[in-house]
């Protein structure tokens, strides 16, 4: 029986790996980007102008000059075969003038896909380590794994179903650790070759320590439902428009709204990754115009309306139900300077208007950078 199993496994492997040693002419198997830039941030800590009178001295709005360095290395399988492999390594650091406020992020991503006809089974694993500014209290490691089956029903319709596991660990504070298990389904409809819409639903079950540390905690037991509809449109040969509306509801056994860590780090979006007990509506639009091979202009807008329901009046930390409206707009121009060297200039504005004044903020970011694409 053991021999039969071994023969079977060998046959299985031999059947599944018919690789043609034929490189794809237009795709490079190894590519990468190295970039360095300077950034001005008008409100680095995203503080409100209406801080309470007893706020500490270091809770004043401060601007910052930051040096940003990023590196990306990507390996993509160059062979033509049912197997598809991608490995991505990414590093980002923001060096602040005050060294304590510097932060960095490292990420590794592995994708293995197997295509049979137009259908695909794939496994995606992404590991990320984020070192926050100030101290190591909220430094965290997160691993996201997803197993997805994609089926093409017809040239116009395709569906995707997947299982997802997210593990979030805080080395300095074990009680923030939590794990998410969930699944999602997505249906995509291609109306025209350049216009498609999609509809997705995602359910996540959250399990954490449940221990409370001030206002931060990982829930012992929580549920998150996410519904999204979106579209992708390409028109007049040079324009791309992607838009989506997302509705998300997060409920858990802790009746208080909770967040682990501060809103710091990557600034391109307003999503707060480690936040619980909320109802959120989000709309986003990304427009991109390619003037020619040299210049590309992109605009991104994000609007979020978030409510933190008052489930237990005694434990709720605010005098009334907290409601936040967050808005972000960003525009950037990318220009190919010489050969593979590119220049990038970006302006970003983000703000929060809350019915709890201390959660208001406004921030302007200007970035100027150079990148080299390998």
């Amino acid at each position: 029986m053991k021999t039969l199993s071994s023969v079977w496994i060998v046959c299985l492997i031999l059947c599944l790996v018919p690789v043609q040693a034929l490189a794809n002419e237009n795709e490079r198997s190894v590519s990468g980007v190295v970039s360095v830039g300077v950034k001005y941030d008008s409100n680095f800590d995203l503080l409100s102008e209406d801080m309470p009178a007893n706020a500490e001295e270091d809770e004043e709005i401060e601007d910052a000059y930051i040096t940003e360095i990023t590196a990306l290395l990507l390996f993509r399988s160059p062979w033509i075969s049912p197997w598809h492999l991608e490995l991505e390594l990414y590093g980002l650091t923001n060096l602040h003038q005050q060294i304590d406020d510097s932060w960095c992020l490292g990420r590794g991503k592995l994708y293995i896909g197997y295509g049979f006809g137009e259908n695909t089974i794939s496994l995606l694993n992404e590991a990320r380590y984020f070192s926050e500014p100030d101290d190591t209290e909220f430094d965290n490691f997160r691993n996201t794994a997803a197993l997805v089956y994609k089926r093409v029903f017809s040239p116009l319709w395709q569906g995707r179903i997947g299982y997802e596991n997210i593990m979030h660990l805080f080395p300095d504070n074990d009680f923030f650790n939590y794990m998410i298990n969930g699944g999602f389904v997505e249906l995509r409809n291609t109306w025209l070759p350049a216009f498609s819409t999609y509809y997705s639903y995602n359910y996540q079950y959250i399990q954490g320590s449940g221990e409370i540390d001030e206002a931060s905690n990982a829930p012992e037991d929580g549920h998150r439902h996410t519904g999204e509809i979106g579209f992708e449109l390409f028109f007049a040969r040079k324009n791309s428009l992607i838009g989506a509306y997302t509705y998300q509801i997060d409920e858990n056994d802790n009746p208080m709204p909770a967040r682990i860590g501060e809103i710091q780090g990557e600034d391109e979006n307003l999503e707060e990754e480690v936040e619980f007990n909320f109802v959120k509506h989000k709309g986003m639009l990304l427009y991109s115009h390619r003037f020619n091979d040299r210049f590309t202009l992109s605009l991104y807008n994000e609007l979020i309306h978030k409510t933190f329901p008052k489930r237990d009046a005694d434990l709720y930390p605010y005098p009334r139900e907290r409601r936040d409206v967050l808005f972000l707009t960003s525009a950037w121009l990318t220009a190919r300077l010489v050969g593979n060297a590119y220049g990038k200039i970006r302006y970003l504005y983000r703000m929060s208007e809350s019915n709890i004044d201390m959660h208001d903020f406004q921030d302007h970011i200007i970035y100027l950078g150079l990148e080299y694409r390998l």
Partner: protein, 171 residues
């Protein structure tokens, strides 16, 4: 219990293999369709010249060649149209991927659905590029065959005329 698990694994592996075989066959059909003209009935024996062929026989063979030329011209037009569509599709897909790449950089890391869409798009681009390569190879071969047959038809016609003149001169 363990034996049952093992049987279940074998059954599952067999089903996966079957699914893959069906899928691979479907992918193979597309490639076969593109190169279908190469498997048309060989007209070589039907158009081979015999030393005893007279002008009427040769012109009959010219007709066979011209019929095949007409079929090849239609196939060439169909392939050219498909290649043009493929190129447009690739242009759109590459731009979509670039925009989606920008979106994946903006969105919070770990949004696996955008990453999956990006990979799907990359795979689709690879597939379209592969199809385009096969179509380009197929149409290059088709053009060579067309030129060969048109040259042959012209030679046959010339030979038929010469034989007709010779027969006329003899009479």
């Amino acid at each position: 219990m363990f034996r049952h698990d093992r049987r279940f694994c074998f059954l599952l592996a067999t089903l996966i293999l079957l699914g893959i075989a069906v899928g691979t066959a479907a992918a193979g059909n597309e490639q076969e369709r593109i190169t279908a003209w190469q498997r048309w009935k060989d007209i070589g024996p039907a158009i081979a010249l015999d030393p005893l062929d007279g002008p009427a026989d040769i012109l009959e063979k010219v007709e066979i060649i011209e019929d095949r030329v007409d079929e090849l011209v239609k196939e060439k037009a169909r392939l050219e149209k498909e290649i043009e569509l493929n190129r447009q599709q690739l242009f759109i897909l590459r731009n979509q991927r670039q925009t989606l790449q920008e979106l994946s950089q903006i969105q919070p890391q770990g949004n696996s659905q955008t990453s999956q869409r990006l990979h799907d798009l990359t795979e689709r681009i690879n597939r379209e590029e592969n199809l385009l390569r096969i179509k380009n190879e197929s149409i290059a071969g088709l053009r060579r065959e067309l030129t060969h047959l048109q040259t042959l038809a012209a030679e046959y016609r010339e030979k038929a005329k010469r034989l007709q003149r010779e027969e006329g001169g003899t009479q």
